[in-house]
Amino acid sequence: MDMTLSAEDLTFRDEVRNFLDTEFDAEMQKHLRSAGGKGMVAWQKKLYAKGWVAPNWPEEHGGTGWTATQKYIWESERSLRGIPDVVPFGLVMVANVIMAFGTDEQKAYFLPRILQSEDWWCQGYSEPGSGSDLASLKTKAERDGDDYIINGAKIWTTYAQYADWIFCLVRTDNSGKKQEGITFILVDMKSEGIKVNPIIGIDNEHNLNEVEFNNVRVPAKNVVGEVGKGWTVAKALLAHERTGIAGVADIKRTMRLIKEAAAKEINGGQPLSNDPGFQQKMADIEVELMALEFTELRTLATMAAGGFPGPESSLLKIKGTELQQATQELRMELAAYYQGVLPTDMDPDVLGHEFGSDARRSFMYGRAATIYGGSNEVQKNIISKYVLGLE
């Protein structure tokens, strides 16, 4: 039972701080804000150059080989500076699937390109009408010589408008149980017959899409894992997703922003940071957050020791997203009337406020967090079955 940093850890922290302070400069910050989703590519390439883009990959494939403590230090320092985490679809999600289930050829081709952010990936799981019942998917892939012909549609596809590749679950067999006959396949977004239809979100932004497949021809060698075993592949991916999803460091940063802003929001001559009601709301969130940070650390420590994440990891997604939304809600409360401001680019001096629109966007976009990656209700089904053994 020990959390003290060793001399090596402190040296590592200095190196991280030095790197982030030098490389995440004003130009990079501006670039990230203005270039939308693609702005991340430039940042990820810098991380790649340093060898730090994939903390969770094994070293043999280009991962960092960091200890749990080093990962914790990295996360803390990154979020402290408001630097977004890497886009997960390639570096976290599909990469893990390819490493676990891919052929040597797939590994040799895709992994280096993912590491170098050469390809932008998106996720083709959900379908119009399928919701959280993932296995009900209908997008069909039929064998035709060395290829599959795909027909159907995927929805809620984040950043499909930027994507070079999409990883999909498709139905290759209709005869058995609905979990059977599903196949995991990689599709080039430049393929003929793919159409991307934008969906404007509750946050008034374009992050989501519907992706249509009309007779899209995909080489059979793009199947990852066995044909018909896509459900197994997808489940393994969920386990990876589960462990990294709490985002404690980022929630901590939001709490810091709230505290700073609460000292400047004046109500009846008193800053909101002195308001007992508001203080209690902050305290209730912070207590839960302090606990969640250690729940995340416990998971990291278990994994670093080569173990499979225990029951404590399953609550990361649920508690993490709940706390995310709690902080977003508190930030809205803080902004009072300004929480409703629609334009995102107004001069604060003209508007009379600094973060109202930003709070609105985060709050609105944040609604998705308890829905995606398996809604929190589905997460509870999974935990009760696989962790508590209830059926």
């Binding site: 914790y72 940071s273 912070e286 606990a291 650390l297 420590a301 609550l315």
Partner: protein
């Protein structure tokens, strides 16, 4: 970074778990609770022989030299077994005060007896009006030519019924709410002028209201510096809060395990009630509540081990979270056990009552939230 227990800690854990399993089954415990003393002195001797009573004391004082993690292991396991023998009042509170404030003579005479299981101690600090304010103290000790005279009353003294030696917090100077001017005294529970009214609490603790009527104390009854007790008391309370949190975590885990087991076997409408989604999601909530409390306990342990005072904010948070999460856990445990859950016969209610008393000891969630806010947002 590691959250592992050492081999030695694992051995202590196993030995207490084995004791609970072999010698502390529910019927045995019931008989102990119903007995004259409400505790087993034979068990207490066993605790001494197995070295559990020596855990937090330094090797120089004849102890095991354990740290906060060692102590937490003991408390967690005792929580799981709902052990009623007065480990917390005697070893953690009373022993903690003597170990920190006592001079060499006091430490060697008293701690040896605590460790050997020969002394049962208590810390008398609560007064009728004081609730959780430690400094709200009307009990007075007036200096005389050769010592002090003690007057006043302490209430809900844990282990007050069985303790033979008391550590009494009394005012030697200052006003009713002053931090300064508080002193600790070692008082023989059978001394002239000491009288007590004993009663049981819902968690089977035997407590007492103790009155001190012109109790004559020699000058060597003073424990620590005259008027300077508060910092020592605060140190002991800090350790006690972590110890109680560990006990609470042990109990919460046990309640979840028992409830989960029950929902897998209890049949209603032809199926196990654990197959109902309405219950499954709530069982996930209680599992998360337990894991979160355990995580925050780990944080407190790590910080305390490095520097006890650095853990203060986390300890407030821990008390808040345990207050909140234990209510969820014992509430659901009772509810899911249905009619059986509200009987005295079943152990579930007894675990619940111990959690409720832990919450009410040394400040509840509301009290610690105020402290947390003071310490966290004071600068804002």
């Amino acid at each position: 970074m590691n959250f592992d227990y050492t081999e030695e800690q694992q051995m202590v854990r196993d030995s207490i778990a084995r004791f609970v399993q072999d010698d502390y089954d529910w019927d045995t415990r019931k008989a102990i609770v119903a007995s004259e003393d409400g505790m087993s002195r034979q068990n207490w001797q066993t605790f001494a022989e197995l070295g559990w009573l020596s855990i937090p004391f330094s090797e120089a004082d004849g102890g095991f030299g354990g740290n906060i993690v060692d102590l937490s292991v003991v408390m967690e396991e005792m929580g799981k077994g709902l052990v009623v023998e007065p480990y917390f009042p005697t070893v953690v509170l009373f022993g903690g005060l003597v170990a920190r404030a006592g001079d060499e003579a006091q430490r060697s005479s008293i701690l040896e007896r605590v460790i050997g299981g020969e002394t049962l101690g208590a810390f008398a600090y609560v007064e009728r009006q004081s609730r959780y304010a430690l400094n709200d103290c009307k009990t007075s000790a007036t200096a005389t030519a050769d010592g002090y005279v003690l007057n006043g009353e302490k209430v809900v003294v844990f282990n007050g019924e069985n303790a033979d030696t008391l550590a009494v917090l009394a005012r030697t100077s200052g006003g009713q709410f002053d931090d300064d001017g508080l002193s600790l005294f070692l008082v023989d529970a059978n001394a002239d002028g000491v009288s007590k009214v004993c009663y049981p609490m819902m968690d089977a603790q035997r407590v007492a209201n103790i009155t001190f009527d012109n109790v004559k104390l020699s000058s060597d009854a003073l424990l620590g510096a005259e008027g300077g007790a508060m910092p020592v008391v605060e140190d002991v309370i800090r350790e006690s809060l972590v110890a109680l949190a560990a006990e609470a975590v042990g109990i919460m885990g046990t309640l979840n395990t028992k409830t989960l087991e029950y929902t897998k076997t209890r049949q209603q409408f032809g199926v196990a009630i654990g197959s109902f989604q309405a219950l499954q999601h709530r069982m996930v909530d209680t599992m998360m509540a337990f894991e979160q409390a355990k995580s925050l306990l780990f944080k407190a342990l790590c910080e305390y081990k490095t520097d006890p005072a650095s853990a203060d904010t986390t300890i407030h948070a821990l008390k808040i979270l345990i207050d909140r999460n234990s209510k969820l856990i014992y509430g659901e445990a009772i509810q899911m056990h249905g009619g059986m859950g509200i009987t005295d016969e079943l152990d579930i209610g007894h675990y619940a009552k111990r959690l409720m008393m832990i919450n009410a000891t040394l400040g509840d969630g509301t009290f610690h939230r105020t402290k947390f806010i003071e310490s966290t947002y004071a600068a804002a």
